[in-house]
Symmetry: C2
Subunit: 293 residues, 2 copies
Amino acid sequence: MSADASRPTPAGTTVAATTGRDGAAPGHVFDDAIRLVPEAPGVYRGETSAAYGNMVGPFGGITAATMLNAACLHPERLGEPVSLTVNYAGPVADGAFRVAARPVRTNRATQHWWIELSQDGVVATTATAVFAIRRETWASTEASAPPAPAPNEAERWPIERARVAWVRNYEMRFVRGAFPDPRRMPMLDDSTSLLWVRDDPPRPLDPLSLVALSDVFFPRTYLRAAQIAPAGTITITTTLHADAAMLARQGTQPVLARAQAQAFGGGFFDQASAIWGEGGAMLASSHQTVYFK
Amino acid sequence: MSADASRPTPAGTTVAATTGRDGAAPGHVFDDAIRLVPEAPGVYRGETSAAYGNMVGPFGGITAATMLNAACLHPERLGEPVSLTVNYAGPVADGAFRVAARPVRTNRATQHWWIELSQDGVVATTATAVFAIRRETWASTEASAPPAPAPNEAERWPIERARVAWVRNYEMRFVRGAFPDPRRMPMLDDSTSLLWVRDDPPRPLDPLSLVALSDVFFPRTYLRAAQIAPAGTITITTTLHADAAMLARQGTQPVLARAQAQAFGGGFFDQASAIWGEGGAMLASSHQTVYFK
């Protein structure tokens, strides 16, 4: 993956990359997990997927994709998602849930969303999203993709070591900062993980899978504090740089994903992450706050 | 400012650092600007401040502080702010506005908020916030403060060059990436700005001023694309690392603030930023998506 040069945004990028996945979507395990069935205008019914189970409740990335899906499916949606913030307010219990999506304000080229996931009337997850019609402008990836061997030169992380179900839906090839072996866990100065990752089975990249991929990183405390102790994302914000053309070029190829914590203390740490794709272009960048014990 | 070593979280950090600023607050220009008067439970009335005027409407940082202030003032508030996302959905017109803050979910140690700023019933700004009771844990600033001369060794940015009012309320001492001189504007490979900054007149740091400081950076396109063209934050998320003890240690001293864009294209770029304080501890980190022309 080369360090990126400035590149113009290709023409035709105003074509919406986003089509929500509803009851009629094909049967990829990811699409099954984020499936929403309209109940009323802007209100959808979904169900947790055992395939994306985490320690407690679902994988945060699949919840993020589900929240975004609700806005994507909404008949008043404008353009493509540009930013998504998901707040994990409480646990999501196994079973059915309701997602309500409301366009709070629609401008000529941007649209702001409020999205709420609830179970039995109790809010479990909230989100805000910004959708926009992208325009042709000067373009460049300033934060270049870190050097990495080709995906097939990096060893696939052994899926039999997975402690949680959702990991089995990703092909992960760590370049550095792999999930540590609990028998040999030194405290590291640097919490960085760098990996090639894609859906397994492969699935063409779209904004929904991109926001899920932005949360595939295990807690940075595992590397820095050398402890496998409870930790969970409280809030994550993802900027989606990938337009329709970039997503189409990426297809099912693995993306290069990097995450690093910046500061720990008082029961929380933050994590900055980014995902690069074909030609070294940044596809998404994220910032999250994580609770840890 | 030394590179940080691991440091324990000081005792007593569960003391709330946060007291909202209401009508009775003292007359610092910042407190005047973010002042809110309760109208009904969770509903406050505020007014834009000419002192924090930007190109169009108020400085985004003062709006962020005002949104956070509404949650801080709310009688049901739990603990301190840990994360704030502010979405600039539309322009805020000069004059009065209403801010509604609602605790969406309150857990034992965390609380999630929805906050909405409106004028004449039209939503202009939305926000979500996470408050929490901080606990004593392992602590460390992994992303060290960049090397910088002492604040008094860096030249103060000449306030007479300010094109907008809000800049006059900050003492800015650029170490690199200063606001460019329009007569000599090369395109740079690196959009980084690094500066010492504090309120002017000095004001003891608190979560409200910290979220405002997290948005003091001019658009990264000014440096990278060498064009002073319209640009504005669409959404900003700030993780607040500073607890009460860290804020008290910081007092009115300048903080070291760094910002860099990561990728540009399709009319948007993202910006990662961080603020370090006394002893090199990270006080806050942010991620924003910016619209540009």
